[in-house]
């Protein structure tokens, strides 16, 4: 089904190399904890909306209350995490991934 068939053992060898393990670690150690963090932060907002109406109703500025600010902060955190991830990928993931891919494809020919 794949257009370029490799010996599966080739992939197992690459997977075992230190540099691939480093790439894997750099990806997972950033993406996994961050996923947990934004899900917790989001669920906190949802749970407060369901159970803590009085808190969410506190007015902060004019008619702008905690609920609205909390909601807008979810936008801010989403934009920030997206930006941070693109920075992280460009600096830590892409160079290593490109390097590994180059070598594998070269060895292939």
């Amino acid at each position: 089904m794949t257009t370029e068939q490799h010996d599966s053992s080739v992939y197992e060898q690459i997977r075992a190399t230190d540099r691939f393990q480093e790439l894997r670690r750099r990806y997972r150690s950033w993406a996994f904890p961050m996923t947990v963090a934004f899900l917790v932060w989001y669920l906190l907002y949802v749970v407060l909306s369901a159970f803590a109406r009085d808190f969410m109703a506190i007015k902060v500025l004019g008619n702008i209350n905690v609920a609205l600010i909390f909601g807008l902060l979810q936008f801010v955190s989403t934009f920030y995490i997206s930006w941070a991830y693109s920075r992280h990928s460009a600096a830590k993931l892409d160079p290593l991934a490109d390097e590994l891919r180059g070598e594998i494809e070269k060895a292939d020919r």
Binding site: M1, T2, T3, E4, H6, S8, S9, Y11, E12, I14, R15, F20, L23, R24, Y27, A31, M34, T35, F38, L39, Y42, L43, Y45, V46, V47, S49, A50, F51, R53, M56, A57, K59, L61, G62, N63, I64, N65, A67, L68, G71, Q74, F75, T78, F79, I81, S82, W83, Y85, S86, S89, D94, A97, L100, R101, I104, E105
Partner: protein, 536 residues
């Protein structure tokens, strides 16, 4: 000229323009990669706009604005869930999927499994999720036409739905992914333009004083400060503890559904590399996030300027709040003619929105039928590209017809609410299998099949026995009451069931393919062997 004539003219211009693009695109459709993935040759910015186009459906534009206009703050919850959900797609799915798949969601799920059972399950779930989502869009089309063309008879609405259905079939059958993507791009630009225009006019009227606008909305709603707080629609006092769990269930479904939506997932295949897939999601998040901030103003603006009574009188579920606001703000600032023009513009944009999303959904489900079920399951891979694409085109017809039929049946529901059900089904049936496939070495065929069917069936069963279908005045079936599930959204139960079924079935089966997992991991992270863009 009345607003109906003008809106019809504007909408026809959109239709003619997009049809021209579609036929132009069809002349460049040569291979299967062209038809399914637009030749993988779109830029990140183009695909980012198309992601926005695919995602900002009638639910986002009409549904959320309507919920905010009628229930105040609770509608905003949808915007937040729909947006935060993109982080799951960005961090965990987009790039890995682009690197290891080809045309459909099932390509990734079947990568290291026994292909036939997994493709069957993934194909079925793709089609079910897409049809639920299609249903919501069709309901939106029916609601709009009442306001737009003054058609209130059931047969008139039905005729509109048929018209929308035929157009979307043409886009998909003729244009494939390339034509459909361009339709999404044009639509995204129009929608952002229209929503920005109305937002600026509304804010301008209130002297850019957001607090003032909120105060006016609260006063007009007749509910006072409660209108700006959660729990007018969800988790109300009357609903008791299940109402609170229902809100959490909705929140979970929204945030976990996006990365399981087949028509969104296949967007990642339309760009040359995983890096472009990432960039296109970043573009998408920027566009979608901005749009949801605009809907906040649209919703509260409609509450302040149109009032919930006038909105309910037009459409009980609130689906017409945004176009009604356009009329009101246009009249307030530019007089009657201005109101007419603005209503016509917004109504035409809303129609374009529905049409584009519907085309994206039809493409996703017909692709899955042809590529997963027909080519790989029925024919075991013994088909030519030509035959496969012919089947894709024929199934687009069939799915279009099914969507038309269902859309005519379900007119009384809020569009955003119906879409939330599609999200719950996607989060339960698709997401567990996708995440396990990408990240869990031990995951196997039994686990994939169990998690898809387990999540899908539990979500569907809970919806069928929920108050959405029977037992309440707003239910689909009004004369009977066979509901026993207390919540409207099944996510809180069905999503964990999907994950659990996958886990247990995996542990119970000894089979797993270590070397294929190594291949998948290396390919997904480095991009080795990823499908290339076509060069013509």
């Amino acid at each position: 000229m009345s607003h109906t004539t003008l809106a019809t003219v504007l909408f026809l211009l959109f239709v003619i323009g997009t049809l021209a693009i579609t036929f132009w695109a069809s002349r460049q459709n040569k291979t299967a990669a062209d038809y399914y993935a637009g030749g993988r040759a779109f830029s990140a910015a183009q695909n980012g706009l198309a992601i926005g186009g695919d995602y900002m459906s009638a639910a986002s534009f009409l549904g959320i604005a309507g919920l905010i206009a009628l229930y105040g703050y609770d509608g905003f919850l949808y915007s937040i869930g729909f947006l935060v959900a993109w982080l799951v797609a960005l961090l965990l799915v987009a790039e890995l999927m682009r690197n290891s798949g080809k045309y459909t969601m099932a390509d990734v799920l079947a990568f290291r499994m026994s292909p036939r059972p997994v493709r069957t399950a993934a194909g079925v779930s793709t089609i079910v999720v897409s049809i639920f989502y299609l249903l919501a869009q069709m309901v939106g089309a029916g609601a709009l036409v009442g306001l737009l063309l003054g058609i209130t008879s059931d047969s008139g609405k039905a005729l509109t739905i048929v018209g929308v259905g035929i157009l979307m079939i043409v886009y998909v059958v003729v244009g494939g992914m390339k034509g459909t993507t361009w339709v999404q791009i044009v639509k995204a630009v129009l929608l952002m333009g229209g929503a920005t225009l109305v937002t600026l006019l509304v804010l301008g009227k209130y002297g850019f004083n957001v607090s003032g606008l909120l105060g006016e909305a609260a006063a007009q709603s007749g509910k006072g400060a409660a209108f700006l707080e959660p729990n007018l629609r969800y988790a109300t006092e009357a609903q008791g503890i299940w109402g609170k769990f229902d809100l959490i269930s909705l929140g979970l479904a929204l945030v976990l559904g996006t990365a399981g939506l087949p028509h969104i997932l296949i967007r990642f295949y339309t760009v040359p590399t995983a890096k472009d897939a990432r960039k296109s999601v970043l573009w998408g998040i920027g566009i979608i996030g901005t749009f949801y901030l605009l809907t906040l103003v649209l919703g509260f603006g409609a509450a302040a300027m149109v009032g919930s009574e006038a909105i309910r009188a037009e459409n009980a579920a609130g689906n017409t709040a945004a176009p009604q606001l356009a009329l009101a703000i246009g009249e307030a600032i530019f007089g009657d003619v201005g109101g007419t023009i603005l209503l016509a513009i917004i109504a035409a944009v809303a129609f374009a929105t529905i049409l584009a999303v519907v085309a994206g959904l039809t493409l996703a489900s017909s692709s899955s039928f042809a590529h997963d079920l027909y080519a790989h399951v029925f024919k075991r891979g013994n088909v030519t590209e030509k035959q496969e694409i012919l089947v894709a085109r024929v199934s687009a017809f069939v799915i279009g017809a099914v969507a038309i039929g269902l859309g005519i049946l379900a007119q009384a529901q809020n569009v955003a609410f119906l879409v939330a059900l599609a999200f719950a089904i996607a989060a339960s049936g698709n997401l567990p299998a996708i995440l396990y496939s990408l990240f869990w070495k031990r995951f196997n065929t039994a686990g994939a099949v169990a998690s898809i069917y387990g999540g899908l069936v539990s979500a569907l069963v809970l919806v069928i026995f929920s108050p959405v279908v029977s037992g309440r005045p707003t239910s689909l079936i009004k004369d009977m009451d066979f509901h026993w599930f207390p919540m409207e959204n099944p996510g809180l139960f069905s999503i964990p069931i999907g994950f659990l079924c996958g886990y247990i079935a995996t542990r119970m089966s000894k089979e797993y393919n270590e070397s294929k997992y190594a291949e998948m991991e290396v390919r997904s992270l480095t991009g080795v062997g990823a499908e290339k863009a076509s060069t013509h």
